[in-house]
Symmetry: C2
Subunit: 342 residues, 2 copies
């Protein structure tokens, strides 16, 4: 006695396949596909029958089958060079948002700054045939390009590639310094000190350089005659305050390389009885809310528009995928956020 075969039209076991939809609509699989994708010509009534079947079965296409066929995975890799920190998070979210609008998902890869891990993740992304890769880091220093990614578009966000023919989206340190200095000058400050992070950080170096430039453009110079490099910490902000006031007691403004330093400065000033903003203006950098808002008074600061950097990186990547990459560094302007410290 032969084994009884399953009923030919038994209810599909797991998720509905396109074949189930086609069967229900009484058309062939190919026609069902065309109905869904809008391609091919067919009677509106037929298309509607397919769409009804889709709705009834709760069908949605198997992306693996789609990707296998089309070669596109509708996925991009997001490699974070060095943990996911305060800086990379908004970048990441901006990118995710922009890509999500285009039906593209984000594969997260954290390298923890480890080259081995980076290579491993990269291989994984290639195996998954991602459509592109966004590389971001927690610092703005340039980084060596990803090795061995021929044929797949890459965009560097926040930390540009050292290769100028790669596409990078970076912050506008020059514009940030200009916004801060122009704001201070416009509000009547002339004896401006600059306290910032370690010299081996590009962010500190660049901002310092452009700060001096901007001061010169206003026929000014740093109140202490030099840049105060140190750490990105409140403690350094406090120490630097003492140093600055000892050297140049007539200083009337601090422009700080980040909000932590700025907060240290305001604390030190308050403890010395210097009132902000009346006796002294303080401007920070980063617009890191937990620092800028908790500071007393809340800090005027420069916002790098990090999520915009992520968004633009995503858009550049989409362009590179669909048409042509636009090589070079694309800068995203900063924004001055005025609060009560200036």
């Amino acid at each position: 006695m032969p084994v009884t075969p399953a009923a030919p039209d038994s209810p599909p076991a797991g998720r509905a396949r396109l074949a189930d939809v086609a069967a229900l609509a009484g058309v062939s699989v190919g026609t069902a596909s065309k109905a869904l994708n809008g391609a091919g010509r067919m009677r509106p009534e037929t298309r509607q029958r397919v769409l009804d079947a889709v709705a009834q079965l709760g069908f949605s296409p198997n992306q693996h089958a789609q990707s296998l066929h089309t070669g596109r995975s509708w996925t991009v890799g997001l490699m974070t060079t060095d943990g996911i920190g305060r800086f990379s998070t908004p970048v990441l979210l901006g990118a995710e948002d922009a890509l999500g609008a285009g039906k593209i998902s984000v594969l997260l890869c954290d390298t923890r700054g480890d080259a081995i891990r980076e290579q491993h993740h990269l291989q994984n992304l290639m195996d998954r045939r991602v459509d592109g890769i966004i590389v971001t880091g927690r610092r703005t220093d340039p980084r060596p390009p990803l090795p061995g990614v021929e044929g797949i578009p890459v965009v560097y966000a926040l930390s540009p590639s050292t290769n100028p023919t790669d596409t990078s989206v970076v912050t506008d340190d020059r514009g940030g310094a200009r916004l801060a200095v122009e704001h201070l000058v416009a509000t009547g400050r002339t004896r401006i000190a600059h306290v910032t992070g370690p010299q081996h950080h590009a962010a500190a170096r660049e901002r310092a350089r452009h700060t001096v430039e901007q001061l010169q453009a206003a026929a000014l110079e740093p109140s202490t005659g030099r840049i105060h490099h140190g750490e990105w910490s409140e403690a350094w902000g406090r120490r630097a305050t003492e140093a600055v006031l000892r050297t140049a007691p007539d200083t009337d403004a601090f422009f700080c390389g980040n909000d932590q330093i700025a907060r240290g400065v305001t604390d030190a000033l308050r403890e010395r009885g210097v009132t902000v903003p009346d006796d002294m203006a303080v401007v920070g950098y980063d617009n890191w809310d937990t620092m800028a808002l908790a500071s007393r008074p809340p800090l005027t600061t420069i916002d790098m528009n990090l999520s915009e950097i992520g968004r633009i990186a995503a858009l550049e990547l989409l362009r590179a995928i669909d048409t042509e990459p636009r090589p070079g560094a694309h800068t995203v302007p900063c924004r001055l956020v005025v609060r009560e410290s200036s």
Copy 2:
């Protein structure tokens, strides 16, 4: 004249396929596959020939084809309920790390707290046939379970599901309160105040409740006779300090619901000339380095081991995928980090 066909064994255009490997090794595609996966029996020498061909061509299998066939995508979705913040980041990294070890990649979905967006992401994850989903939020309050995820394992991290038959991995508020109170009592404090966040946050409520319990276990009660609920901010910490010292001047320790409040307390104490830890001990919660270390003095605090929560959530998810889910809430113990404020 007929068009010249491409040479039958022309160098493969894009990436090598298994067929190319098989051809080079002089075996069939099926055999090549078996050689790679260790399955099937074959002469070691044949297997080696295949492996050599793989190395020579730099072959790695097309994951879409694999997934299409096996139904497994080696991908899990990570849905963050409410942005990616201070709390979800370590959870996320812990999960990514644990999953990466198992060749599984993480698809990032940020819902921004929007139910529509959540549904949209969820559909996307289902279409991609993810093997499982981790849901995390930025608060510890329970959240309603993900709708319509029948047949796919879900683990909730940090914010448990309101459905007790779901698998959740949560922080141990009770243990955290116990660690803090026992530490304070062990160092001779008896007049302990508790200042924390808003009552409508589970984290504040739970920690407060267990703090009172633990004090009672030591035959103590809050120095002010009550819990001080407010905001999770430094400003509230400063205000609360005044209130506590007015009500109960003999208070000798503050246990705070988070590090921001604790930092506000230390600031207020210093400004009143109360020295920490000699006159007053202060213990925070979260071990948020930018707060705990920048505080003066650095804070003794409770670390929730967030990345461990992420790691365990990932392991529970792997278990649910491979074998059986373990329903219920799994708590991850906290850790006391002693610094100079106690």
